[in-house]
Amino acid sequence: MQHLSILPILLPLFTGALLLLPPLSGTLYRQRVVTLLSSVLQVLAAVLLVIQIQNDGIHQYILGGWQPPFGIVLVADPLSTVMVALTTFLALGALCYATGNHDRGGKYFYPLFMFQVMGINGAFLTGDVFNLFVFFEVLLIASYALLVHGGGKQRTQATVHYVILNLVGSSIFLFGLGIMYGTLGTLNIADMAQKVPELTGSMAILAKIGALLLLVVFGLKSAMLPLHFWLPKTYSSASAPVAAIFAVMTKVGIYSILRIHNVVFGDEAGELANVAQSWIWPLALMTIAIGTVGALASPSLKILNANLVILSAGSLLVCAALQNEAATSAAVYYMVHSTLVAGGLFLLADLISNQRGKAEDRFVMAKSMDNPVFLALCFAVGAVAVIGMPPLSGFIGKVMILQATQSAAEQVWVWPILLLSSLGALIALSRAGTTLFWRGAPSKQNDEKQVIHIGEWIGVVMLLAASPLLALFAGPMSEIANSAATFLHDPSLSVDALLTSPLVNGGH
């Protein structure tokens, strides 16, 4: 199936467009059915793509039939396909949850959601940096509109900050791209990786500035320390399905850092080898610290989740800073785990918030919930996974990160900070759970019972069940992660193969 690698972009694009046309645009019911169907198809396509890439190796989809590095290419390699599969699965969970009447807050929820998925998939699959920018903009403009979905003062205010910050980020991205094109004469990622080692003198200094400008942009997306202040407010004010899909957006930034700063400006980059690592190191460790402090200080469950997202972003940045194959492999595994669990916890926070009356998700005494057993079980699974306690996937992910540290100096920095952050998360989450589930006043008889909608139920269970499944199938999953890391760190596979291969197909 040579066209499989473009399907994760085309499917949501056409679904989103179709949803705006008459037979579907009229009723919410039809929109739900079509979106869910399309989402299931996307998951299938993404899984098929992962299997195909694992069996046959890297696939380059050449749009327009121009010989690379000219023209536009999509690159489906193990890393990008795993990320696409992760995105589509997360989207399916969030959409299931949205069918429980969370889609009534504003028009065009489903089309926007599809465009958001398209942007994220495109950012993962694209093979050149300018299209990375274009897909960033696609996913951003959809996220701007999704963030105000549901309305309300707090959301509007959070959106203003988010939009302005990201517009400035886009400008910096373009400055970085301009410098890259000016010095390298190409924007194809594989071609850039080949040309960077040849730079010397003033050109190398210019390219370094460009690389660090790109780091600022990706740092903004992935919530690296001084650029993370927007995240807690944005994520905690978004509606639940939107917050869940946002969980993968910080990972887009980390994926881009892995692609650009670990491959193009990696070990083989001559004068510019590992130019960003000395910056990522301290910032990543401080991101973990600030995420832990934030988690301990959080007044409500949604803000706590948002701070845990920062914590996981910090852990992933440490992997990017370690810059070796084992670390990248750990990053892939941890990325899949932390995205799904964070998404599930955002959905769960909304369910809990709906059942506690006026107290919502704040850590205060409130009326007890109507479905305490189900919610508490889900919370326990999510909490154990996100803290990184055995037996769930967070534990395996963290062990992989700890094992990836090689020199004693790395171990001295990474081990204590990562383990203390787990302790911090454990304290924050056990405090949260105690208040939410054990300190409830009995509900009055005349209150109407809150029922969990079947869609909500499926969404939450799907995303949180991923954690035990990831632990159960840790073998195959870490094999995929290893192959992704091997591909990324072997230039003959991830760079040369893309440029020397003859024009295999004119995919159009």
Binding site: T156, Q157, T159, V160, I164, V168, S171, L174, F175, G182
Partner: protein
């Protein structure tokens, strides 16, 4: 030519950054617009500035690089759309929050702060 060009891009970026740091949404939107103009000029210059160089092979001795022009075109379109969205959002924020400050509340002037603390004493 290069000097004047670089100076213009630099001044525009500086003005853009200054305006985006202001407290009200209108100057911020103008600042974002200036920034995107500066970015467009900068991208255009990444293909090197040349005179009398056609972007088509065989039409002149030296030829201009067509790719930055394509990139600038894309950047202009995206910049327009984003600016339009920022304007609409600013108007909605003005309606929802009752003022046009980026933080959604009117900051107290030093005089007011002094009066408040004086009243408590």
């Amino acid at each position: 030519m290069e000097g004047v060009y670089a100076f213009c891009v630099g001044v525009m970026t500086a003005c853009g950054i200054f305006l985006t740091l202001r407290g009200r949404t209108f100057p911020v939107v103008v600042g974002l617009t200036l920034l995107s103009y500066a970015v467009n000029l900068f991208l255009f210059a990444s293909g090197r500035l040349k005179l009398e160089a056609a972007a088509v092979l065989g039409m002149s001795d030296s030829y201009g690089d067509p790719l930055p022009q394509a990139l600038v075109l894309t950047a202009i379109v995206i910049g327009f759309a984003m600016t339009a969205f920022a304007v609409i959002l600013a108007m909605r924020a003005r309606a929802d929050l009752g003022n046009d400050h980026v933080d959604g509340r009117i900051p107290k002037t030093p005089v007011e702060q002094r009066q408040k603390s004086g009243g408590q004493r």
